[in-house]
């Protein structure tokens, strides 16, 4: 109904052209190839400390669900790919970059946007370690993080529904 697609080369001229510094202030996204990852580095042991202080309250001391305890933020850690009942970073996340991006933009839930890049690298390292994706001594930075192959990566497929009659 409303889609009179308006193609015009002439510009309306509304809005304000912006330059690099103003864009950079908002440009927080991270791609699977690492584009967007900032300078800085993080280690598992630092991450473990920050996690205990800023995350454990909502995600549990070890990031796992205990029977009978409802975690405010849900479980983040699982042991293997087999137990798919609880979807976690270890068994369900296809890209490690997503972890950095999401923690930086949205966590901790009560103080989103409060972590610095080093903290986010460290937390990512700790959570990947806790999920048995990386070893305890791996140091994460803009180069190493995107190289991590997540266990669940191979399970993900793009939508293969094509519309039409087929039930898929």
């Amino acid at each position: 109904q409303a889609n009179q697609s308006i193609k015009r080369s002439a510009k309306f001229g509304f809005g304000r052209t912006v330059g690099f510094p103003e864009i950079a202030a908002w440009d927080i996204d991270i791609r699977p190839d690492g584009m967007g990852l900032p300078k800085g580095r993080g280690e598992v042991k630092t991450g473990r400390l920050i996690y205990a202080k800023k995350c454990a309250a909502c995600h549990g001391a070890d990031g796992k669900e205990t029977t009978g305890v409802k975690l405010l933020g849900g479980a983040l850690v699982s042991d293997s790919l087999s137990g798919r009942k609880v979807k976690t970073i270890g068994n369900y996340w296809p890209f490690a970059t997503t972890l950095f991006d999401y923690i930086r933009r949205a966590m901790p839930y009560n103080l989103p946007g409060s972590l610095n890049n080093e903290e986010v690298y460290s937390l990512s390292a700790y959570l990947l370690f806790a999920n048995k994706v990386i070893k305890a001594d791996v140091v994460l930075d803009a180069v190493s993080l995107p190289k991590i192959i997540m266990p669940a990566r191979k399970l993900f497929v793009m939508d293969d529904r094509k519309g039409g009659k087929e039930i898929k």
Partner: protein
């Protein structure tokens, strides 16, 4: 077909609740004068059903297709931000000729366009017990008349690099909600909207501006929109990997944007009670892929199907009201509806969905035919089919 006054929110209000006073003969008492803003009758109090993270539209109480703005379902991941429209800006950048920031006032200068369509959460399906209302089962869908600017208009303004294939949309809420959308949707029917049902968009729906992607998963229609970035590949954000993905046999399906066609009977439905004789069966049907082509109703447990009447006008990617005139003979039975959309897709049964996707079927993109059990005493219960 008894639909007693105030039964509408039976689940929220017990008959013992206080009802307002009305004069015995209203023709003898001058009433209240005109006012700047109207209110509901004190005898009516439709409500959404809120949980911690969402609230559901009372579908069973809807007599039309436009959801009253204050009853539009909610789903947010970090609450509703309070945004000053004089400060808020939308940045479009990335693979563009000229990165530009637009204020709300700027957006309103562009050619405006209005369209009616539904927005539905991709996780809109609950089952589990017989005492469920349409609101409980399917309340995460609502419909509005949206007004704003075609995204293509804004994209022409910034100039899109030929290498761009996707765009990231980002919200200004505390979740800084982010999704990646194929660029083709922008050239098709995507909009940035600032008005809902005639007036400014409501805070829960993204005030002062949101992305509108007719027919796509609700979550992608980014609210409180503050940034769009053109890219040659998707970002694999948390909401398109950890969430809004679902097992299909031994794989996990992601980037499944279009919502397949579905329908639900909203009357008679739990907790209504009907009488023998004429009953108008009413419901809504919709498809994320275009117009509703036809709705069929069965009053004999799915053995035979009859064509329902569609309320005109039937719009694309829009809730379509259907009605079917029924004479209930008083026997226990089950009533069902199923929709066919203009692509020829027929709404599947739960069994068909399980066959297609495997036994690990999850809460996203679940659009099975739903049935209501009519008992001999006229009470109506949801036929809560087990997921496995």
């Amino acid at each position: 077909a008894v639909l007693p006054v105030n039964n509408l929110f039976a689940s929220q209000r017990s008959p013992q609740d206080f009802l307002p006073l009305a004069p015995e003969d209203p023709t003898k008492v001058p009433g209240q004068g005109p006012s700047p803003l109207g209110k509901r009758s004190p005898f009516e109090s439709p409500v959404r059903k809120p949980s911690d993270i969402s609230s559901r539209t009372p579908l069973q109480d809807m007599h039309g297709t436009i959801t009253p703005s204050d009853l539009h379902f909610e789903r947010h991941h970090a609450g509703i931000p309070t945004i000053d429209p004089a400060i808020h800006e939308l940045l479009i950048h990335g693979l563009v000729e000229t990165p530009i920031k637009f204020t709300l006032a700027d957006l309103k200068k562009f050619p405006s366009v209005t369209r009616i369509c539904f927005i539905e959460c991709a996780g809109n399906f609950r089952t589990g017990k017989e005492e469920m209302t349409p609101q409980d089962i399917l309340g995460l869908t609502s419909q509005s008349e949206w007004t704003g600017v075609m995204l293509s208009t804004l994209f022409n303004e910034v100039g899109i690099d030929p290498s761009a294939k996707w765009f990231l949309a980002e919200g200004s809420d505390a979740a800084v909600m982010t999704r990646t959308i194929p660029l083709s949707k922008a050239w098709d029917d995507a909009m940035v909207v600032y008005a809902q049902n005639g007036e400014a968009i409501r805070p829960e729906q993204g005030y002062p501006m949101r992305l509108l992607l007719p027919g796509f998963e609700g979550n992608m229609n980014i609210k409180w929109l503050r940034r769009i970035k053109l890219s040659d590949e998707p970002y694999m954000t948390r909401e398109e990997t950890s969430k809004y993905t679902y097992p299909v046999k031994d794989r996990i399906r992601m980037f499944s944007f279009e919502l397949d066609a579905r329908s639900i009977i909203i009357y008679p439905a739990y907790p209504a009670k009907i009488n023998k004789g004429y009953v108008q069966i009413r419901g809504i049907a919709w498809s994320g892929r275009g117009k509703v082509e036809k709705v069929e109703v069965s009053t004999d447990r799915g053995q035979t199907w009859q064509i329902a009447n569609l309320q005109e006008p039937v719009l694309s990617k829009a809730h379509t009201y259907f009605r079917y005139e029924w004479n209930w003979d008083g026997d226990a039975t089950e009533i069902l509806s199923r929709v066919t959309d203009e692509t020829g897709y027929l709404q599947p049964t739960l069994q068909q969905l399980i066959e297609a996707r495997g036994p690990d079927i999850s809460g996203y993109h679940m659009n099975p035919v739903t049935a209501w059990k009519i008992n001999k005493d006229g009470t109506v219960l949801f036929k809560a089919e087990p997921l496995k």
